[in-house]
Amino acid sequence: MNSTGTNALRHAVKKSNTDAVLSVRDLTVSFLTNGKQVPVVRGIDLDVFANEVHCIVGESGSGKSVTSLAVTGLLPVTATVSGSVRLDGVEVIGADEEVLRNMRGQDVGFIFQDPATTLNPVMRVGRQITEGQVVHGQLKASAASDRAAELMAEVDIADPKGRVTQYPHQFSGGMRQRAVIAMAMSGRPNLIVADEPTTALDVTVQAQVLSVLLQRQKALGSAIILITHDLGVVAEVADRVSVMYGGSIVETGTVQDIFDRPCHPYTAALLRSVPRIDAGDDRLKTIPGQPPTPAELPSGCVFHPRCALGAGKTRCQTERPQLRAFASGQMTACHFAEEMKPDRPSTTARAIAQAERAEVKPLLEVDNIKVHFPVKKGILRRTVGWVRAVDGVRLSVRPGETVSLVGESGCGKTTFARAIMGLLDVNEGDVRFDGRSIVGLSRKAMRPVRRQMQYVFQDPYSSLNPVLSAADIVAEPMRLHGLFEEMGSDKRIAELFEMVGLSPSMMGKYPSEFSGGQKQRLGIARTLGLKPKLLILDEPVAALDVSIQAQILNLLQDLQRELDLGFLFISHNLSVVRHISDRVAVMYLGKMVEEGACNEIYENAAHPYTLSLLSAAPISNPGMRNQRARIILRGDIPNPASPPSGCRFHPRCFRATDICRSQVPELATQSSLKTTSICHHAGPLDPKEIALASQAEGGI
């Protein structure tokens, strides 16, 4: 198996082979949990061909990751697997461990989700990239270092020779993931399995990594299985798509068919529930309920409890539908697929009463605030510098209005939010709430302000005290302000539960008994107890499944309308921001770079960073894939402790000139532009620029 002869033979066979690279039949995987076999994958069929990207899309618990691990027997020993998986014609299930080992790295390469933990922290990256090839006898140990540099160059890692001897912690996140791609591709495998390869990365870095992945795939002619929950990524890269739900594939087809004419109610509902970046829509159509957990699967069709089409149909409740041909190249696992009505997602833009709002006095005014953290170094731990986490942001929020702050990780958006809450000290600038300055107030003086201004955290799992009951969690802020009785005690709690769509019967339960979406509802309920005027929402839906995300977004919009709440919405998700915002501010490396009305930012942005961000964000519309101009930013976000001179964006900017390197741009409103931006060269995107920007990157 290891000799070069058989390797050559195998590659020859591969070229002439039109059969599937991977062929899965009736794959079933279950795990022994608490003495019970819990089915996680329940009989799936799948074919993946050379030169294609096959996306498996699904929410948590759908079994998509387990499927990918089963492909080469990488599942833990607690798993029971049956069915057939043929990789290059070789049966994987029940195969000898040695046969499997030889397949891994040679016939199939893996890319895992989190680049921070995928690589061994104490081994040089170069060695990790080529280690597999050396073991399989494809590469001499003496040539490994040169080969590693070559592979790194292929995935656009700058200075590959120098990087070979470095350790993973010396790489940035995007670079690490590219190194993992180089590693997965080093043995020229016929199949690459990528499990959420860009989920942990920022939008601009995601664009880099996806482009490198596709570029390498084209060069090698491999097949890719890409597992993701992100429909935008699917629309951008997939050739064919399988949608998984409750351990089964419910629909499979070409990417165009899936998005244009979904033939399973779940796919259709999922597509409707995702906010779109290319069109602001008024209200999301949610899927009721939660995705099922493998331990408690509904009978019959797993989707029937959440399905509008199957409502009341006994067949859906009793008989499990099999995947069947629906149209050419498209298969469905729905008894009543033929009855589905084609529907285009409504694109009625939501009404924004801008003019009317301008009259109202702002609730929150932030005037050019700066939050700096000291950097301590040396023997005496002296302050040698400052991390300028927030370095000049101004914005205002009016009652009933949603202002969003968008940016990638490390841009300072969470620091900004916490500084406004008085959880961090503001070094410079002013924050006014209801016209009163709240900077530097004592804990005591801040208390009445905190009644009016509340914070919703990103992670519903860690933001609720695990030893308090749901009722106590919601009551805590009121009790802290001594207003529990005044507000109506238990009656008020029940009222709040209903307000956020939780049954008051759950009041006695503890956070661990709630699902992610329910926890976030609880987190919202607790902020409403004191009747605040402003909510600061820090990535409130980032940790949630797509279908749950839509429910929470709708809830927030309803509450806003009902209670005339002002929202300061912090997010990295451009689609969500477009959906929920009235106005948007974009941050980069501690500075606000552009600000304007929501639609103007999305349609008429003028700052090169905003333009790049919008261009990098995936659009859930495969038809747009080839028509759209793409700017792939080079490099990573610089360290905020030592930001670049002049305009902080200049090292990555396609418009940068000498002035950008030396002079810090000022906030300027040009009459010709629809937004306010801080840039020496603000202006709409010229198609020629894209060509230039792409050229600089070596094209995609």
Binding site: Q113, R450, S463, L480
Partner: protein, 294 residues
């Protein structure tokens, strides 16, 4: 309150599903029973009978007799009292002083943390047995002195574990949330962080109980702990060692009881640690099963 009761009941149910833990609980239970009711049960550790000195185990003297003809079994039973009382006292001293140190150091950080942790570092710069001996050198010998000395050596472990727990909770969102709602530092510390920190502290107490028993026995073995005629395991081993040739059982049998006691506490403590850590692992595991999304 109900929550902690529920989870405690659940923890106990889970722990009792392990055979080792069941044995340990039964053993410690039986030992405590004997120690508490030793007088009623008619154990006599004082009566000397020089004619029957250094007798091997027999129907009358299950563990044999010592150099003064006293019943070794009775002395082991009363030694249990000494041992358990000393260790309980020591653990209490360590917890009462160590937990607040860790809480304050972890919560406030800054100079308070620096000062308190330096003091703890000093205490750790000497192996526990030496530290205890140095304290005995000042306090003089005796059961009370042994209890205090062993207790003081246990302060660093409580302080460190509490501090680590506070630090890990300090930046969790639910603690930040309390601050964002306008809760005071005292509220965060005692009402939010402390109720979430009990488990590792309780486990530490159990682990330390076994360490305290061992230390007390070691001190008595060195002649620095409990003074005769009060029976103590360490003291019995110390004397027994002089009669290795004539009466090997003298040093062996009390040692078995001592070892089993330490083993029992260790088994329970370790099972609890496993269980606490396992809760994370269990979470990880089930999310592998049901695949991780975020």
């Amino acid at each position: 309150m109900r929550k902690s009761f529920q989870s405690a009941a659940k923890t106990i149910r889970n722990l009792m599903s392990r055979k080792g833990v069941v044995f340990s609980v039964i053993f410690l239970g039986a030992l405590s029973f004997l120690a508490i009711f030793a007088d009623i049960l008619g154990f006599d550790y004082l009566t000397q009978n020089l004619i029957e000195s250094l007798q091997p185990p027999s129907a009358e003297y299950w563990f044999g007799t010592d150099e003064l003809g006293r019943d070794i079994l009775s002395r082991v039973v009363y030694g249990t009292r000494t041992s358990l009382v000393t260790s309980a006292g020591a653990v209490t001293i360590a917890a009462v002083l160590g937990v607040p140190i860790g809480l304050v150091a972890g919560f406030f950080g800054g100079w308070r943390d620096a000062v308190l942790m330096r003091v703890v570092d000093v205490m750790l710069a000497l192996p526990a047995i030496l530290f205890a001996m140095a304290l005995i050198a000042i306090l003089g010998k005796g059961q009370m002195a042994a209890m205090i000395a062993v207790g003081i050596t246990g302060i660093p472990s409580f302080a460190r574990i509490t501090r680590a727990q506070v630090l890990s909770l300090r930046n969790r969102d639910f603690v930040t949330a309390v601050e964002a709602f306008g809760g005071s530092a005292t509220y965060s510390m005692f009402r939010t962080i402390l109720p979430n920190s009990w488990s590792p502290i309780v486990v530490q107490a159990i682990v330390l109980a076994s360490v305290a028993i061992l230390l007390e026995a070691a001190l008595s073995f060195l002649g620095m702990g409990v003074a005769p005629p009060t029976p103590s395991w360490g003291e019995m081993l110390r004397t027994g060692k002089s009669y290795l040739y004539e009466a090997p059982y003298y040093a062996v049998l009390p040692g078995i009881i001592l070892t089993l006691t330490i083993l029992s506490f260790d088994t329970i403590g370790r099972a609890m640690t496993d269980f606490l850590e396992g809760r994370h692992e269990l979470g990880d595991h089930s999310s592998v099963d049901a695949e991780s999304e975020k």
